[in-house]
């Protein structure tokens, strides 16, 4: 008789071979419907909105680093033309003022960067300029951290970082853009 005994039937297993196929199907589904997270960017805190016009506080000209970007993506920094590649170092010198020059910031706390662009300025240029200014501050903070604590800003403790942030505050003020070169 070819009848299987009860013991033989107990040994029967569910065929797991097709399980791989099911898993593959799921895998391919996820591969197709998803994108790898790559969301990075330049983080900015916008000034709060207020109806009344900002009260004009008199600033000493020596403390203001004005950056103008026109519709042709050209830069005018403190009345002089400049390339974007030179901006970072120039801004650093202005903020830190190592030689204590008369026409540069009294100290990093008082330095203010004023940025103004045109409505026709390319977004790419705008972000590049903003990035350079932010980089100048980040480099200064790194230098400060290295001088004081012997390590980069990112590796300092929270208190150390707050102290450095207070000493070199990031102030980039943006003026209402001009509208000479609006795109049609």
């Amino acid at each position: 008789m070819a009848r299987t005994s009860t013991r033989d039937r107990m040994k029967n297993e569910i065929n797991a071979g097709s399980m791989a196929d099911i898993a593959f199907l799921l895998l391919i589904f996820f591969l197709v419907t998803t994108t790898i997270v790559e969301d990075k960017g330049v983080l900015v805190k916008l000034p709060p909105w207020s109806e009344e016009p900002p009260d004009i506080t008199k600033l000493k000209t020596r403390n203001v680093y004005s950056v103008l970007v026109n519709a042709d993506d050209q830069l005018l920094v403190r009345g002089e033309e400049m390339k974007v590649s030179e901006l970072r170092d120039n801004a650093k010198i202005f903020i830190k003022n190592p030689q204590k020059l008369e026409n540069m910031a009294e100290n990093p706390k008082k330095a203010i960067i004023s940025m103004k662009n045109d409505r026709g300025t390319k977004y790419e240029t705008y972000l590049e300029v903003y990035n350079e200014l932010k980089a100048a501050y980040n480099e200064l903070r790194d230098e400060e951290a290295n001088a004081k604590h012997g390590k980069d800003y990112d590796y300092c403790t929270k208190d150390q970082r707050t102290a450095i942030r207070m000493a070199i505050p990031l102030v980039i003020s943006e003026a209402e853009p001009t509208s000479f070169g609006e795109e049609n």
């Binding site: 071979g17 960017g41 805190k45 662009n117 972000l127």
Partner: protein, 155 residues
């Protein structure tokens, strides 16, 4: 003699495939963790610019996205080539931004609302006019934490 014959009979052992599903599942879980579901298809071309001072956006649930760019090929006939704003999955106007932000806010638990960030995914070639308008709308709506989405620059 019988000893050798026995060996010959055992010549075709199969590789056990029982662990294959486990391996595939491992891959599956890896992809599930690493990736996010694409929730809206893009109707505008967005090629983000490059930058160096980047911050990584964490906590996906606290981020809302505003896309600005020129309409893609298939929408050019109806919408032209001027830069447009896309909120969620449709073309929108500046006036729609407050409602969009409010809708997103309602999904976030109350104590987390201070940390909501807006990721601006803006095409390189767009001019600042439209970007300024969006920024103004965000400020008016009280959404001040903004992230200009960018790719790392390779120097």
């Amino acid at each position: 003699m019988s000893k050798f014959r026995k060996k010959g009979g055992k010549a075709s052992p199969e590789i056990s495939t029982a662990s294959l599903p486990d391996i595939i599942f491992m891959l599956l879980f890896f992809f599930m963790v690493v990736t996010v579901l694409r929730d809206s298809s893009l109707k505008v071309d967005v090629k983000t610019p490059n930058a160096t001072e980047l911050t990584k956006l964490e906590k996906k649930s606290l981020v809302n996205y505003i896309y600005i760019g020129r309409p893609t090929e298939q929408y050019r006939k109806t919408y032209g080539t001027k830069p447009r704003i896309q909120l969620g999955d449709k073309f929108s106007k500046i006036e729609d931004i407050p409602l969009f932000l409010e809708k997103h806010k309602s999904k976030v638990s109350e104590n987390m609302r201070g940390g909501i960030k807006t990721s601006l995914r803006i095409d390189k070639s767009v001019t600042m006019g439209i970007v300024t308008d969006v920024k103004l709308a965000l400020r008016r709506a009280g959404q001040l934490l903004v992230n200009y989405s960018a790719k790392p620059r390779v120097d």
